[in-house]
Amino acid sequence: MRRRLNRGAFAAPLLLVAAQSADAHIVASRLGDFYAGALHPLTDLQDIVLWTALGLLAGSLGAARGRGLVLVLPLGLLLGFNVGLSFGSTWIAPLTNAGMMVLLGVLLAAGLRINAAALLAIGLVLALMRGVVNAGGVGTATDRVLFGAGLALSGYAFITLITALALTFRGSDTAPSRAWRRIAIRACGSWIAAIGLMVGGFALAS
């Protein structure tokens, strides 16, 4: 039962993304600026991949180290969002995103046990970056307070759920039968780093 639940939980976001990416803009115009802000990061894969990578990393490091991200990510997003509103959001190069993906992916794949402060610092930089980029979704008629609130809440929910799911999936360190699960998470990290490499290559080529 538990396994099936897990499976559903991991498959659902995939479906959600596939189904929603098509009509998120319609949803935004229909449901107002709060939901526009909440859905904006979910329509682009950049945030999904990066937030997922961060959540997996936090989950693989354990509850004690990963817990702080629940606050750091939304607050960093808000801060970055305000920076983006004031200074524009086009100056973040696509290569930065790719670099972040490679960094997070390699940390995951190598299974390095970085400490909580390093994790929070990476999380904060990532959140600031993505906050700035997401400020690009604000139009002239958009209510910035509602959009920002939606963005921060969406980041909070996403990181909390992914971290907890990763933690649950990984299981405790003592159970030997679950060794393959930690390998699966590390393989995910290597996939993410691979995606980052390809995107970076594309950014360099164009």
């Binding site: 229909r30 449901l31 817990r67 909390t160 759920l161 907890a164 649950t168």
Partner: protein, 326 residues
């Protein structure tokens, strides 16, 4: 004590900044357009009340088989059936009332708002399967939109979850709330009961204040009414919230003959949205327990005060409207 009072003040300030723009937006300009059928399938459109931005600036889109060049709207044999939408609704044009006056039969009116910028015009004759599918699609979506945008309803449900936590008791409580609001929604939609909207909204806000107080009571160790009989409280307040749903439905300009169907689909939509919200909250609560990321002891009462003060803020605002002080 001082910390608590400070927290309360801070929360009130946050709430005021968060919700003030929404309140203002409600008073923005309204437009009324009338579509009168002059030949079968051909309409003459006329703005009986122009929106503040000027009639020519309204981006009105008609179904694909229709052709609109104001003041003429030509729809051919199929007639005026399908979605009509206004894409540039916003801060300076909040709603447009659309009146369709056919050559035979009663006139119908629809409201296009930022919350639901698309209205579906249904055929005048006997309902076909197509009509039902169109009706289902439209009203399930209305229902989902309404609950997702109804911050007051969601806050009430959040309060219930906070008190009852999880498990079988929560399932019963949410079911009771659902039954309560379905009953009163039906009763109000069929005109069996009628309650003016403003006092009702104030009551809804007060119900959330009540839940906030109950959370505080529970955390001080006293079992409040909600903790003991959650389903009774949920059912009773569900009745109040349901009338609120009905007033939203009444604003959509519904035809009498399609009312039962529309009501059913609207309710389905509300349940879908509510269920999604409950599941999200439960998932987040599970995640917090799993991460052991819980509020420190001094913050135990924070959620209760947050829920209570936002609701109290709404209540005062709505009470002022009831008294007509604005």
């Amino acid at each position: 004590m001082i910390v608590r009072r400070l927290a309360l003040t801070a929360l009130l300030c946050v709430a005021a900044t968060l919700f003030a723009p929404q309140l203002r937006a409600h008073e923005a300009s309204l437009g009324v357009i009338e579509l009168r059928e002059v030949r079968p399938g051909a309409f003459i459109g006329r703005w009986t009340m122009e929106p503040a931005i000027g009639a020519s600036h309204v981006d009105l889109r008609v179904p694909a088989h229709c052709f609109l060049r104001m003041p003429q709207l030509i729809c051919g044999d199929k007639g005026l059936v399908g979605p009509i939408t206004i894409t540039n609704l916003g801060a300076n044009m909040s709603a447009v009332l659309l009146k369709v006056i056919p050559m035979t039969g009663a006139s119908r009116s629809y409201t296009i708002t930022t919350a639901s910028p698309v209205v579906s015009i249904l055929a005048a004759g006997a309902p076909t399967l197509q009509t039902w599918i169109e009706l289902a699609r439209t009203y399930v979506n209305y229902g989902i939109d309404h609950i997702l945008l109804g911050a007051d309803h969601l806050l009430f449900v959040l309060g219930l979850i906070w008190i009852v936590r999880a498990g079988w008791r929560l399932a019963k409580t949410i079911t009771a709330f659902t039954i309560g609001h379905s009953l009163s929604l039906a009763a109000a939609a069929f005109g069996l009961i009628g309650i003016p909207e403003r006092p009702l909204n104030a009551c809804i806000a007060l119900s959330i204040v009540f839940v906030g107080v109950e959370i505080v009571k529970q955390q001080r160790g006293a079992a409040g009414l909600t903790a003991r009989y959650p389903w009774a409280v949920a059912g009773a307040f569900g009745l109040v919230h349901g009338i609120g749903f009905a007033s939203a439905l009444a604003g959509l300009g519904l035809e009498r003959r399609l009312l039962p169907g529309a009501l059913l689909f609207f309710n389905v939509g509300v349940e879908v949205g509510q269920l999604a919200f409950v599941l999200l909250v439960l998932a987040l609560m599970w995640a917090h327990r799993r991460l052991n990321a819980v509020l420190p002891r001094w913050g135990d009462l924070l959620p209760a005060y947050a829920i209570g003060s936002v609701a109290m803020f709404w209540f005062i605002g709505r009470l002022i409207r009831v008294l007509g002080v604005t």
